[in-house]
């Protein structure tokens, strides 16, 4: 599966209904788009824009084909300063994915990360392994995926997207934030005072509600 995730901040005074409809139309026009979701972010998304737009494709070729067709219209909308103030965007093939059970509704959370101080490839691989393991240790994480980013734009040259799904927001605010696998272990990669630190301090941290798992392709169903 190949995915595109964009975190949008609407321009002041923009017609957000027209913005959502315009972008959704570019997804519907694309024959190669398996699924498109465009959801408003939750207030807890402190650095995470107003909307999360996600597109799924069978592969990179299908994504490139969409880019050359309806994707041009999408780019035109996203580059219009009267409608959109800022976009953080990544495209990526599915990375390691874990699941405890399927969710039909819940809270989706993404974290865009820029690993820009890694001493070597082994450290990056270890970070990815440990991040994936968070799903095993932290009860509130029900579905999860850590992926390397292929293309990125926005506030930082994002290198990874760390996605999780929770039953509700408490799954993130309590289980994820309070579990020692997070603050006493993984956090050392993010903490500038730890010698293992290698991640840019600026993160894109966003949430939205979902009705069907954003990680599941619809395949026309």
């Amino acid at each position: 599966m190949f995915r595109v995730t964009k975190v949008l901040t609407a321009a002041e005074g923009a017609d957000t209904t027209a913005l959502i409809n315009g972008l959704s139309l570019t997804a519907r026009k694309g024959l190669n788009v398996l699924k498109s979701t465009l959801e408003p972010t939750l207030p807890e998304a402190t650095t995470g824009g107003d909307y999360i737009w996600q597109l799924q494709f069978a592969g990179e070729w299908e994504y490139r084909a969409w880019l050359d067709e309806a994707g041009r219209e999408a780019a035109s909308i996203l580059n219009d300063a009267a409608r959109v103030r800022h976009v953080d965007a990544v495209s990526y093939k599915d990375g390691r994915t874990g699941s405890k059970r399927r969710l039909h509704r819940g809270v989706y959370r993404l974290l865009l990360i820029s690993v820009n101080k890694a001493p070597d490839a082994a450290s990056v691989a270890q970070f990815e392994d440990e991040t994936y393991e968070m799903g095993s240790y932290i009860p509130g994480i029900l579905r999860w995926r850590i992926s390397r980013v292929q293309e990125a734009s926005g506030a930082r040259p994002w290198t990874h997207i760390w996605e999780q799904e929770y039953q509700d927001l408490d799954g993130f605010l309590k289980s994820y934030m309070l579990h020692p696998h997070h603050w006493a272990w993984i956090n050392r990669w993010y903490d500038p005072e730890c010698v293992e630190h290698m991640i840019d301090n600026h993160l894109c941290n966003s949430f939205c509600n979902f009705q069907r798992s954003v990680r599941e392709p619809e395949n026309g169903s």
């Binding site: 932290i138 009860p139 509130g140 579990h179 020692p180 603050w183 903490d191 500038p192 730890c194 010698v195």
Partner: protein
Amino acid sequence: MSETGRETIFYLDHMVAQPGCAQALLEFYMSDYVPQAKTRGMTLVHQWVTPPLWLKKQSNELFIIWSVEGVQAWWNATRLRRADPSFLRFWEDAKPMIVSRRRLFLSDVNDVEGLCDV
């Protein structure tokens, strides 16, 4: 064992000092790092050294232990530390006196179950 939700969290700064530098490193840590960290809600618990004498030609190892009460207090201190560049400046200035260092986060083993029950 602490009250659930208010488990004591410990920080360990383990530093291997450059030969003959441990005493100066500790003094610098106490004068520069400690006052800042205390204002961020961290409590200084121990300052240990091994071996317990100041070596002149070899490295001492320092173990500085801090604590906060509860994970929320840990996050509060972490956010305040990250927003304050003076902490990083300290580590940069101290670098010539340090061979290697590591920061670890710990708890009483009896608190593990409570900490993971979230």
